[in-house]
């Protein structure tokens, strides 16, 4: 029972991070119908930006409160990562928008390789690390016996995810900006005829996706304390799986998908085998695509005649 509870905590924490990244995938796919394969690397980049700013604040400015420094780094990372993703869209995707369907996809893969190599060259190949931002834990259960521990960082990660999901869901469902986004999603040409600035709306979508990736990147740092230039790939692909599982295009779906993938991965690695935990995640992708192509919360696409 304790193990089950412990793994539940671990799975929800891991799943929250996947969910935040998955929102970026799902929003971009929803609006331009493209899988942004560079999104995982944007996540990794944001983690590096957060780390650099955190180190700069604590070492150079000598700020003593790690949590406050972390929040500053998080805010700065959200802004800078958004700028990056805005530029990526401007440089690599927008010129290809009228082109054949595969062109932006290939461009995204190229961007993904560029980003990870860029970080490798600029920051070096080794893992960069910080520690002690938020290291405490609540412990339940008997002393010396088998207890359950709930790290403070897990609580922060889970609630930040839920709150951000609520905020972004509100933006998409209830604000004029969200309406414009949904309009572009349904019919871009019609939306522009009705006076919606399609380019700007798409840019804002990329900015929002990047801001969430930056939150995920900084929370990843909070959880694991280190980041490496290659760390974007696997979480990126798993988040993509989460977006598909939840129903691509749906925000709550992305987070639910993320949590499910996190839980499955964690329980699989405890009860079955740690060797094949990635296989578990990707088998789910295959099974979902075959039996539930529109995902858990996705609406089946209806072709209107």
């Amino acid at each position: 029972m304790e193990v089950f509870l412990q793994q539940l905590i671990n799975g929800l924490t891991l799943g929250s991070i996947y969910g935040l990244i998955a929102i970026g995938y799902t929003m971009v796919f929803g609006i331009i119908g493209m899988v942004n394969f560079a999104h995982g690397d944007v996540f990794m980049l944001s983690s590096f930006i957060g780390l650099i700013i955190y180190v700069a604040i604590t070492q150079l400015l000598g700020l003593s409160s790690p949590m406050f420094a972390f929040l500053l780094a998080l805010a700065a990372s959200m802004v800078l990562t958004s700028l990056w993703n805005w530029s990526i869209e401007r440089v690599a995707y927008r010129p290809l928008r009228g082109s054949f369907r595969l062109a932006p996809l290939i461009s995204a893969i190229g961007m993904s390789i560029f980003l990870s190599n860029f970080v490798q060259v600029v920051q070096g190949p080794r893992s960069k690390s910080i520690n002690g931002i938020l290291s405490g834990t609540f412990n339940f259960g008997a002393d010396g016996g088998f207890g359950v521990s709930l790290p403070y960082s897990s609580i922060v990660i889970f609630f930040v995810t839920v709150i951000l999901l609520a905020i972004f869901w509100y933006i998409v469902q209830r604000t004029p900006l969200g309406r414009a986004q949904r309009a572009c999603e349904q019919d871009r040409k019609m939306a522009s005829l009705l006076g919606i600035d399609v380019d700007a709306t798409i840019s804002i979508t990329f900015v929002m996706g990047a801001a969430l990736a930056a939150v995920a990147g900084c929370l990843y740092l909070l959880k694991y304390g280190s980041v490496n230039f290659a760390d974007g790939f696997l979480p990126g692909v798993k988040a993509f799986t989460a977006a598909v599982l939840g129903g691509i295009g749906s925000l709550p779906g992305a987070v639910i998908g993320g949590l499910l993938i996190g839980l499955i991965e964690v329980f699989w690695s405890y009860y079955i085998s740690t060797d094949y935990k990635d296989v578990a995640a990707f088998s789910i992708l295959a099974v979902t695509l075959i039996f539930l192509p529109s995902g858990i919360l996705g609406r089946p696409e209806v072709e209107k005649v």
Binding site: Q7, R126, S127, S135, S149, S226, S269, Y270, D275
Partner: protein, 400 residues
């Protein structure tokens, strides 16, 4: 271009070449300079370069200077094979130093064996590394090593945990590379000799960041000590996972626990980890003092990322240089023969090498040389300071 200008260039270029009358001796260097094992690879390279610079300054070997041809094998077996083929056929190296990763060494060495070019492993520790071409159909073995192999390390780990510290329920945590797998085998064998069976044996992949499942299983099995065979970044995540689960048991493992990538990422969670070390960054002999100072001033760094790799890298160059000098030739079989019968005593950083190799024994480091180090405040310090004091400081391989 006028004729006078052309002749000027010709004269100038002839001066340039006359500075190095003879061709340089090309020595290959293969190691992971990127990826998770790069702190070992880069330290090893820096140690090697330091020694090469010193030797060249003193006039080189056989009146020729040593030229390093370095290649990044990325800790990947297939890249290592490519590097080996390139170094042998395109660059024509006379010998190769390096190999941090046991798997890469095992995959690449056969090309050197076939080409009769000696390899000195200065970091890789897998027990089979030097035995791949020993005996059987092989007349001569071209693979040498000057690092403490896993048989030595695992025996030290097991006896420290069981005999000295009295733990009875060890759990083994290892990565799923050749290094971790072979290490697990050695460690299990060493424990069996002490009549102990590990309560759990857990694996993880390179690049994994979440070790909670493995640590949880070890915890549930009632382990009272964690024995590790893995590399820095993953080990750090093991230590972090233990902290997150609020579980405190000692960690004893292979020397990779001294990697900067472990110490930095694990931070305070890594304190107290124990590992066998051939070299700890402590100026316990004049040679070690000079080496540490030269390293620090050359690379503008206070703490070496991996002191063991740096020291062994440095020593491997001197072993090779001595062999080439004794052989009086850069011919592969002659260098091998000289390595097996080195007459000069070589004062290295790790130890003083007095006939370190023989035809049957290609291991320069014996079980009495490594001492236990412990992570303390972001550095590795000797666990028992008396191990590196007075007569104990210099430990030499027994003759025999």
């Amino acid at each position: 271009m006028t004729l006078s200008k052309l002749s000027l260039i010709l004269i100038a270029s002839s001066f340039l070449t006359s500075a190095y009358a003879a061709d340089p001796i090309k020595v290959g260097l293969s190691g992971p300079f990127t990826g998770g094992s790069s702190s070992m690879g880069v330290s090893m390279r820096d140690g090697v370069k330091l020694a090469v610079t010193e030797i060249n300054k003193a006039g080189g070997v056989l009146g020729r200077e040593i030229q390093l041809v370095e290649r990044d094998d990325e800790a990947k077996n297939e890249v290592g094979v490519q590097v080996a083929q390139e170094l042998i056929s395109k660059e024509g190296v006379v010998a190769t130093l390096g190999y941090v990763n046991t798997g890469v060494a095992l995959g690449s060495q056969r090309f050197y064996q076939e080409a009769e070019i000696p390899v000195i492993n200065n970091v890789a520790t897998g027990s089979v590394v030097t035995k791949q071409f020993l005996g059987g159909d092989f007349k001569n073995n071209y693979v040498f090593r000057n690092s403490a192999n896993d048989t030595i390390q695992s025996a030290m780990i097991a006896s420290e945990a069981v005999t000295k510290q009295g733990f009875k329920k060890p759990a083994i945590l290892a990565d799923s590379t050749n290094y971790g797998k072979l290490g697990t085998t050695d460690l299990t064998a060493a424990l069996t000799k002490l009549n102990i069976t590990p309560v759990a044996t857990e694996k993880f992949n390179i690049g994994d960041t979440d070790m909670t499942a493995q640590v949880l299983r070890a915890k549930e099995a009632g382990a009272d000590v964690i024995l590790t065979y893995a590399l820095g970044p993953e080990l750090a995540q093991v230590a972090n996972a233990m902290a997150k689960l609020g579980w405190k048991v000692p960690v004893i493992g292979s020397w990779a626990l001294s990697m900067a990538s472990f110490i930095d990422t694990a931070g305070p969670n890594g304190d107290g980890a124990m590992m066998p070390e051939t070299f700890i960054q402590v100026p316990s002999t004049p040679k070690r003092k000079a080496f540490i100072e030269a390293y620090q001033s050359t690379y503008k760094i206070d703490r070496m990322p991996s002191p063991v790799s740096a020291a062994q890298g440095y020593d491997s160059v001197y072993l090779l240089a001595a062999a080439i000098k004794q052989a009086g030739s850069t011919d592969g079989p002659k260098i091998r023969e000289a390595l097996e019968n080195l007459n000069d005593k070589i004062e290295g950083v790790v130890t003083t090498y007095d006939h370190p190799f023989s035809a049957a024994d290609h291991e320069a480091i014996s079980a009495n040389i490594p001492v236990f180090g412990v992570v303390k405040g972001g550095r590795v310090v000797p666990m028992h300071p008396e191990d590196l004091e007075g007569a104990n400081a210099l430990r030499v391989k027994p003759k025999g």
